[in-house]
């Protein structure tokens, strides 16, 4: 049996809770994995305690101050044991997975949603089909969030290993996000508006609900293309972001195949559309045939009272 190692999912130099899901994914191969925490301060690795790790290594390097693919892959490679590596499936982690796999001459499998023995399943053709591959040896696998139930317990002692990275690019400017809102790619709940919202000003109704339930606000391509005020960063779909939240609420969105490509793997889908024949209803767990003008105020009032 090959050893399995988890590269912790990081967010603002802190271990992201989804790392516990990666540990659970790694355990399908056998023992509790070693977890490597890329950090600038070893204290960050304490965040990996109680997530079911077999052991925890703080990989400490100035290279981890911000993301550079070459810098991260080389700094991690130097302190990561050989074996099968598991990473998260955020766009940064997929990039790192690909780069470290190439460094080790391993194949990389992205966006795994199931692991059984040496068989790994991931979506292909924008989720229109699932592909199962067999591993003949160690590989690098990025694992989608909200798939494996988080592991718990395990090691809490941290070994610190200093490492150096070959940083190849330099950041000349960090640009603040246009809004302080949650990013659709990271949020656990996403509420998106389409052309059916009628005007970009009406997105305030989506924002109000988002604030009540801690959601990110997304948009269809038609909304992004039609209205300058709706930035591409909000676009969900084939040429936008792929999201995998536990709840996706589509408002005034028809459900074109390219939109579905970005959100069909959401755990629960709610659709609000005035057209009962809109294709989005075929994918909705809960469909409401109504205009958003009728439905959103009711939804917001109910959610507000539920959330206390």
């Amino acid at each position: 049996m090959t050893q399995t190692i988890v590269i912790a999912e990081m967010n603002n130099n802190a271990v992201h809770p989804s790392t516990a899901e990666l540990i659970a994914a790694a355990m399908t191969f056998g023992d509790a994995p070693t977890v490597i925490v890329p950090c600038t301060e070893a204290a960050a690795a304490d965040g990996a305690a109680n997530m079911g790790a077999g052991s925890i290594i703080a990989a400490k390097s100035a290279a981890f101050a911000h993301y550079d693919a070459s810098g991260w892959a080389s700094a991690l490679d130097a302190v990561t044991p050989q074996g099968t590596l598991i990473t998260g499936a955020s766009s940064q982690s997929k990039d790192l997975a690909a780069r470290i796999a190439a460094r080790r001459g391993l194949a990389v499998i992205q966006d795994a949603v199931a692991i059984e023995g040496n068989n790994v399943t991931s979506p292909v053709y924008s989720g229109k089909a699932m592909q199962t591959v067999a591993l003949a040896g160690p590989a690098v696998i990025s694992v989608r969030s909200n798939v494996f139930p988080p592991a718990s317990g395990g090691a809490s002692e941290v070994n610190v290993l200093d490492t150096e990275g070959n940083v190849a690019t330099s950041v000349t400017e960090f640009m603040a996000r246009a809004s302080e809102r949650l990013d659709v790619g990271e949020a656990n709940i996403v509420i998106s508006g389409g052309r059916g919202m009628g005007s970009p000003d009406n997105f305030v109704h989506l924002e109000a609900i988002a604030d009540t339930i801690g959601a990110a606000v997304g948009a269809s391509r038609a909304a992004v293309d039609t209205w300058e005020a709706i930035p591409h960063a909000m676009q969900v779909g084939q040429t936008g972001k792929t999201v995998n939240p536990s709840l996706y609420i589509a408002v005034g969105i028809s459900g074109a195949i390219q939109h579905l490509a970005g959100m069909r793997s959401s755990k629960y889908i709610v659709a609000i559309n005035k057209d009962a024949d809109a294709p989005i209803f075929q994918h909705a767990d809960y469909g409401i045939v109504a205009t958003w003008e009728e439905a959103l105020p009711v939804l917001h009032t109910t959610l507000k009272s539920m959330m206390g």
Binding site: A98, A101, I109, V124, Y125, A129, A139, V171, R177, I213
Partner: protein
């Protein structure tokens, strides 16, 4: 005057229905096109050439059927079109090994590719190729400027960053600020006459093999309600039945 290479891949049209026959996807009835993000990569490569001079070569790894997308790239203005002849399945390791050799043989100094291919959705090729070549890589670029060296805007941490990359580098392209140009009549005529240079490179064995394709598990039919008042009930169900609030 950089020697610029842009990677393009042929994939099923994103509007196409994907059928599974036995345990493999069946693409026989599907229209094949250039992967959408590769169109942004081609555009960025052409803008790079316009700013810095040099040459743009469109490169694909695939069967003869892929010549069509190379001609499409030619029609919008690339200088050379090259295909590494290869059929069948390749894992990321095999594909990137072949691409690294092709880029080296072509003397590439800069590579653009798509953020993710529409079939794999992986986003592995750009960073993986860069690692094999020992180059810098920046993924998911949304814009680029070329005066005073290559400077790219791409997501970094919680927002975007302006990143300076030394050449050689691999940049993968998201849909961004650049509008993709359309072919003109002259381009289409030139593409008709152009011939594809075919390279043959030995493909290493894959360590990963496809076991099966399947359609995604069908969702149980959802519940549908009429009228906006139903939103109250749906909110309750989201909490009590779906447990997502």
């Amino acid at each position: 005057m950089p020697n610029i290479i842009v990677l393009v891949k042929q994939v099923p049209d994103t509007n196409a229905k994907i059928a599974v026959n036995g345990d493999r996807v069946d693409l026989s009835a599907v229209k094949m096109v250039m992967s959408p993000y590769d169109e942004f990569a081609v555009e960025t490569a052409l803008q790079h050439r316009e700013a810095a001079g040099g040459e743009v070569t469109a490169l694909t790894v695939g069967g003869a059927g892929s010549d069509k997308i190379l001609k499409d790239a030619k029609a919008i203005g690339v200088d050379r079109i090259v295909r590494v002849a290869a059929e069948g399945e390749m894992d990321s390791n095999a594909l990137q090994t072949v691409l690294a050799q092709a880029v080296t043989e072509l003397g590439g100094e800069m590579v653009y590719c798509g953020k993710a291919a529409a079939d794999t959705g992986a986003g592995s090729t750009g960073p993986g190729l860069a690692e094999r070549l020992g180059w810098a890589s920046i993924s998911n670029a949304i814009s680029a400027s070329f005066d005073g060296g290559l400077s790219v805007v791409a997501p970094n941490g919680a927002g975007n960053a302006n990143v300076q990359a030394p050449l050689p580098a691999v940049v993968s392209c998201d849909k961004g600020a650049f509008k993709v140009r359309k072919p003109n009549v002259k381009g289409i005529m030139q593409a008709k006459k152009a011939s594809v240079e075919v390279l043959s490179i030995e493909v290493p064995a894959s360590a990963v093999s496809i076991v099966a394709h399947a359609l995604p598990p069908a969702k149980p039919a959802g519940k549908t309600y009429n009228g906006g008042e139903a939103a109250a009930e749906v909110a309750q169900l989201l909490r009590d039945e779906a447990n997502v609030l």
